[in-house]
Symmetry: C2
């Protein structure tokens, strides 16, 4: 396990239906993030196509996990030698999922994750809900999981990923100002109660009537906020440290002591 990982969270305004534009600006931001020393760049939910684009566009634009979006992002990742997590609409058979994928600095697809808890009509009108999932990928010896936006608000989801062995969970999101509480207060609690790092990458700006609240953040396993963005576009950098993880797990032992997984709820 590499002693430190350097994260970049890209808190941008959405650019709906401009896939080429999004890939172009991703190329620029990935280049800058890599030059700043970041090992991995995390984009918001549904970054490639935009999020509030309607069911017809979602159906028209959705790709398989190894499709055109993945190939384009893999090219960017390889060009700048940085891992990238990006949100996109994923087609599989008759379903379209709200998905996020991590592609390694060598272009390998490391993990694809599908949102399990759909948020209101915005999600239910556009996507199928995915089966619960706790797969991890490895980056420089760190075990890393993915959740998307509303998934984080259910403690069961973070617990599942933590019990699978995650050291860190990356969360592309599209969180509205009415739910700033999730960014400011729930993110550090999820980190603390599971002894994991949590990185929450949000949009700012708006897509028609849906507004986003920024406040992207990285929280440590002791509940400390290592970095928090404001409510303007920003690339937020944070360094997560294996020693901090070890110290938090020596001090707090909730993950080992939670009894509900062993008994009836």
């Amino acid at each position: 396990m590499q002693a430190q990982l350097h994260l970049a969270l890209w808190q941008c305004a959405p650019l709906p239906l401009k896939m080429a534009g999004n890939l172009l600006r991703l190329d620029n931001v990935a280049k800058d993030a890599a030059q700043s020393g970041a090992d991995i760049l995390v984009c918001p939910e549904m970054f490639i196509t935009g999020y509030n684009i309607g069911a017809a566009q979602v159906q028209a634009l959705a790709q398989t996990a190894d499709g055109a979006f993945a190939n384009a992002v893999a090219g960017i990742a390889k060009r700048h030698a940085i891992a990238i997590v990006y949100g996109y609409p994923e087609r599989e058979g008759g379903h379209v999922f709200n998905a996020a994928q991590c592609i390694a600095a060598d272009g390998t697809r490391l993990l694809n994750y599908r949102k399990t808890h759909l948020f209101g009509e915005l999600d239910r009108g556009q996507f199928s809900a995915a089966p619960l999932q706790s797969a991890l990928f490895e980056l420089h010896g760190w075990k890393i999981g993915l959740l998307i936006c509303y998934d984080l608000e259910f403690p069961e989801n973070m617990r599942r990923v933590a019990l699978a062995g995650a050291d860190m969970v990356l969360v592309p999101t599209a969180n509205m100002p009415d739910y700033d509480f999730v960014s400011t207060t729930m993110v550090p609690v999820r980190a603390f109660e599971n002894q994991v790092f949590v990185a929450y990458a949000n949009y700012v700006g708006a897509e028609s009537d849906v507004h986003y609240g920024g406040l992207s953040s990285v929280a440590s396993p002791n509940g400390q906020v290592l970095a928090r963005a404001g409510q303007e576009p920003e690339v937020l950098f944070a360094t997560v440290d294996a020693n901090q993880l070890i110290a938090a797990r020596m001090r707090n032992t909730h993950l080992a002591e939670a009894r509900a997984r062993l008994e009836d709820r």
Copy 2:
């Protein structure tokens, strides 16, 4: 369901091994709280005997749930017409549990709860861990659950009580300053993610080398902190409102949408 309930949380210094003294001061505080309009008074964890008193004293002092402590508290509750939640060491057979009991204003024992998640050697040296539990009591039509201190730090416990139908969860605690994060940040998250009111009643002061951090609080189902004490002795008052509960449940639907109880974790 009565439109409002008036709560009093007694943030006091512990008075270890002074049972008569604790019952005397409970009588005074219950009188004042009732005169201020409180329907229920919540004392900290292990209030009757003190908490950090050692296994020998715990064994010597433990009572059954309908024993001498219950009778004394029932007398106080009846005298001042106020419900009381108090912590005490409960004996049952060969076990002693870290327990909290609610006694109604008419002296009826409404609910006895035993701590399920033991905190370090302080708890494990003194108590047996209880089976998971989600029983509720009713007060003026409100359904109310109990947890004790470290139990709150496991999201599974609050979820279990909320799924059983709780409108509010009362939490006698003995939380140390190193864990102020639990008081300030986790309490409102538990309320928000389960759409319940949460009242967290802590000590201040110390018992030998164990110090307590105060910051007792009441959080609403939308994550708002309705009232928070400082780090000095205080009786903290708060009013919880059924309309706020209904509004929060209209807006946030996590409890209905959490999938983990229906599927494998």
